[in-house]
């Protein structure tokens, strides 16, 4: 095995050994969201013509789970290793910056996709789902997970304490996710807030992802894909530059 494969394997093992907490729990949370919001709003809200609210909600919840779990994986692994000090075992090795970065991000993508698939399999029981453009589903899930996995690496490098990481999660990731159209279409918002929503990269991930299911979206999926890819490229460049500079990890 190469160093990269080993670190990737270790990162996979790390969350898989505690799958109740890292996989089963977020699936249950998403199901609860679906049952409660679906029950309350099913007969009152129709976002797209011909699409029931519960069906509309499923892709949003799946994507939200993908994003949150991808972020949680890389960020919590890094902060735990930093605080317990065992990150030294990785830092002492000849792993390159890219290898280190991609191992953390790919494991985050894997956890995001595993949890996302789990959420989908369970929630799809409650709704009539269609798959108009399955490739868009895969592309947006992978890009979104990679973006949040990268943000997790950056946050994990930056944060020195658990509460700093929690602040990053609660004041940045959570609002950006909830305000991206998980539970609603931004078209239902006043014009001002629609424009604000378009500045949120999370909006494009969820909108494009949802297009894969219903063939309907607020923005052309090609544009969404381009926006997400641009953000991802910028974040990756930033994350690798942080590792290369040794910021916080080697000071």
């Amino acid at each position: 095995m190469t160093g990269f494969q080993t670190l990737f394997y270790k990162e996979m093992l790390r969350f898989w050994k505690v799958a109740t907490q890292t996989v089963a729990a977020p699936i249950l949370t998403a199901v609860l969201y679906l049952l409660i919001f679906g029950h309350v709003l099913e007969d009152h809200v129709q976002v797209y013509p011909g699409v029931k609210y519960t069906a509309f909600l499923v892709p949003g919840l799946v994507m939200m789970s993908v994003l949150q779990n991808a972020f949680a994986n890389s960020s919590s692994s890094l902060i735990q290793s930093k605080i317990t000090g065992n990150l030294v075992f990785v830092l002492l090795t000849p792993l390159s910056h890219w290898e280190l970065f991609s191992a953390y991000v790919l494991a985050a993508v894997a956890r995001g996709l595993i949890v996302g698939s789990g959420v989908f399999l369970v929630t799809a029981w409650f709704a009539d789902m269609s798959f108009v453009a399955p490739w868009w589903i895969v592309i947006f899930a992978v890009l979104g997970a990679a973006m949040l996995g990268t943000m997790g690496v950056i946050a994990g490098i930056w944060a020195e304490k658990f509460d700093q990481l929690a602040a990053f999660q609660n004041f940045l990731i959570m609002p950006a996710t909830f305000l991206s159209g998980v539970f609603y279409s931004v078209h239902s918002l006043p014009a001002f807030w629609q424009n604000v929503s378009h500045l949120n990269p999370f909006f494009y991930m969820i909108d494009g992802f949802r297009y894969g299911f219903f063939g309907q979206s607020d923005v052309d999926p090609l544009i969404s894909c381009a926006v997400v890819a641009c953000f991802l490229t910028l974040l990756v460049a930033f994350g690798v530059a942080l590792l290369r500079s040794g910021y916080k990890l080697r000071h």
Binding site: M1, T6, L7, K10, S81, N86, L92, P94, H251
Partner: protein
């Protein structure tokens, strides 16, 4: 080529200058001691060698490979035992060692892992979770982790701090064997008798600077001759002899004094001075100075 070459390394933490231009060269096959009081900069220097910290100025090479610009090659050649007792609670001892081998790109490393575990008396704990191990056992795993890739240069940062006699003996037997097989060993320790017994050469750091760098034997010869330990039944040490006392706390305790002398011919004048002052000698020993005496003298800034 030097195993480790440190060139004018400087490092500051805010207002504290931890390293003030340290230069030294450690040759292949040496057993090298890096000594100094707490806060002298030993761990900072080791962290810079290991790539865990970046120097503000200067550079370090391992077998000619720069630790920053050619870090992958430099790190392949180094095995570092960190001072802090750290571990990954998710894994067993064997998993930990396999994982560490994998980071260096080694697969099927079990034969060597088994050998390392055997030499460090870890075999019985191979399948125990890291969390379940005692402090001493965790320390052994740290050493094993540093050795999984058979590094030609082994760096041990206070490996025996708070460790029982048995582990110290096990550890030094194994490390000495590796040194005889050609591995370069760099050691920091507060146990100076260990450094004296093991290291062929020693550097002493004080406040971020190298204040002594020589062969261990030469250092002991050069700085201090012999020591005359006298225990008095009555009377006091005359003032003329007080400058010779090598452990100042003895002046406060009274009765027993360790006096530095250059050679045996100085024994009689010391005894004469004691007789003259009316002191009665109860016991007397002539000792060769050791590394600890040298260390104390250098750190006190004498001679």
């Amino acid at each position: 080529m030097a195993a480790i070459q440190v060139n004018h390394v400087e490092k500051s933490y805010k207002d504290l200058k931890a390293l003030k231009g340290v230069s030294l060269s450690i040759e292949e096959g040496e057993f090298f001691g890096l000594l100094g009081p707490n806060g002298a900069g030993k761990t900072t220097l080791i962290s810079i060698i290991a790539g865990l910290n970046r120097a503000d100025a200067g550079n370090v090479t391992v077998h000619g490979h720069d630790t920053v610009t050619d870090y992958r090659q430099a790190r392949k050649l180094l095995g570092v035992v960190p001072q802090e007792l750290v571990f990954d609670p998710f894994f067993t001892v064997r998993e930990t060692l396999r994982m560490q081998s994998g980071y260096y790109g080694l697969k099927n490393n079990d034969a060597w892992i088994d050998e390392v575990m055997h030499h460090l008396d870890l075999t019985g704990k191979a399948d125990a979770n890291m969390r379940a191990l005692s402090g001493g056992m965790k320390r052994r795993v740290l050493v094993a982790q540093a050795l999984v890739h058979k590094p030609p240069v082994i760096v041990l940062d206070e490996p025996t701090a708070g460790v029982d006699v048995e582990l110290r003996q096990t550890l030094w037997k194994f490390i000495s064997q590796l040194n005889r097989d050609g591995h370069t060993v760099v050691l920091t320790t507060h146990y100076l008798e260990e450094a004296q017994a093991l290291c062929n050469r020693v550097a002493m750091l004080k406040a971020g600077q190298v204040v002594a760098l020589d062969a261990t034997a030469a250092l002991i010869r050069r700085i201090s001759g012999s020591q005359l330990v006298v225990q008095l039944a009555s009377g006091k040490l005359p003032e003329s002899l007080m400058p010779l006392v090598s452990h100042p706390e003895e002046l406060m305790a009274g009765r027993k004094y360790t006096l530095r002398i250059n050679d045996h011919s100085e024994v009689e004048p010391v005894l004469a001075a004691l007789r003259q002052s009316g002191a009665v000698v109860e016991d007397m020993q002539l000792q060769q100075a050791d590394l600890e005496d040298v260390f104390i003298q250098i750190m006190e800034g004498e001679k």
